[in-house]
Symmetry: C2
Subunit: 195 residues, 2 copies
């Protein structure tokens, strides 16, 4: 394969979940299209690191510092939601059920991969808690890393006396019981609600 | 979502098979990585249209004109393989079963989408046939568009008296050529049928 083609295929292959075949499809798609479309994609990629920085308050990735949520006077400043990545913020915002602030750890604890507390935005978290926070919602993925991180945070934050909660575990909306795995069913039984 | 993030997500979403969620994964992956990786991808994308042009002989996309295959004195100049896209050439080359030349149509006939013979590299094909070609292999995807294009080519080329063959139907029905594995492609080349 010629140089420029091969280089583009290799670069696309570095994206998560993109194999060589998919990367080739992307490259030929761009080559079939006009140069302006390719240039627009390249420019958008360059702009990411140029225009987007972590918010100095919550550490989410943003074009404005502080970010839109931290600057918004209508947000409830007594509630802090701890999340792993900025993308989790979008999912929670899309639910329309949360009006508090966020704190983005920038990852999850993973001792096996060498990710310790010092690699996450944890020291700045304790500083924020003294500013009138009444509840901390730990909203991490239901994975080994998420649970490890949650456990660490609970140990760290328990002495502050601030209310600590975590996202409910149970059946996903629209999920039928006979398609749920046994762990999820067990969790939904343990966390059953009064009707 | 902020401007630069949203712009990058929208640009990635224009790639084939990439939805909004996948585009977001790509964007956050690039943001977590260093600026050099993002810049390398952007530069590789820019280089595509800057460095790659159609070969003036076979119309494949290449950095050199004529392309490597057309320039190669060891290739059999009496056999011409008609393909839809440059990517199909890579699949056939990978099979290791073909030593002739190629002719890239730059698409397939699709009357419903307004793609007629005038949009494909067909007029230059007839010119090439007078240069000692003894066999034309029609190697198009096993799809409605591929069959339509093959039928059109058979009608056009039959009067020349040149041997016409097509790939054996070892390809799965409805399968596009650039998703086939190289062994299947090789078998379908060996079992090509008289038309």
């Amino acid at each position: 394969m010629v140089g420029a083609l091969d280089r583009a295929v290799r670069q696309f292959s570095r994206l998560p979940g993109v194999g060589r075949r998919t990367a080739q499809r992307f490259v030929y798609h761009l080559l079939r299209g006009n140069p302006e479309q390719a240039a627009a994609l390249a420019e958008a990629i360059i702009a990411l690191h140029r225009d987007i920085k972590p918010c100095s308050v919550c550490h989410c990735l943003t074009e404005h510092d502080p970010c839109e949520v931290c600057r918004d006077p209508r947000r409830d400043r007594t509630t802090l939601c701890i999340i792993g990545e900025t993308s989790d913020m979008e999912v929670i915002e899309a639910s329309g059920k949360y009006r508090g602030l966020y704190h983005v750890l920038g990852g999850l604890l993973n001792p096996a991969a060498g990710v310790g507390p010092e690699h996450l935005a944890i020291s700045s978290l304790t500083g924020r808690l003294s500013q009138g926070v009444k509840e901390v919602i730990i909203a991490l993925s239901a994975s080994v890393e998420g649970d490890t991180t949650a456990l660490y945070l609970v140990k760290l934050l328990k002495p502050t006396g601030i209310r600590l909660t975590s996202l409910a575990r149970g059946l996903p909306a629209g999920g039928s019981l006979d398609h749920a795995d046994k762990v999820t069913v067990g969790l939904s039984l343990e966390g059953r609600m009064e009707l």
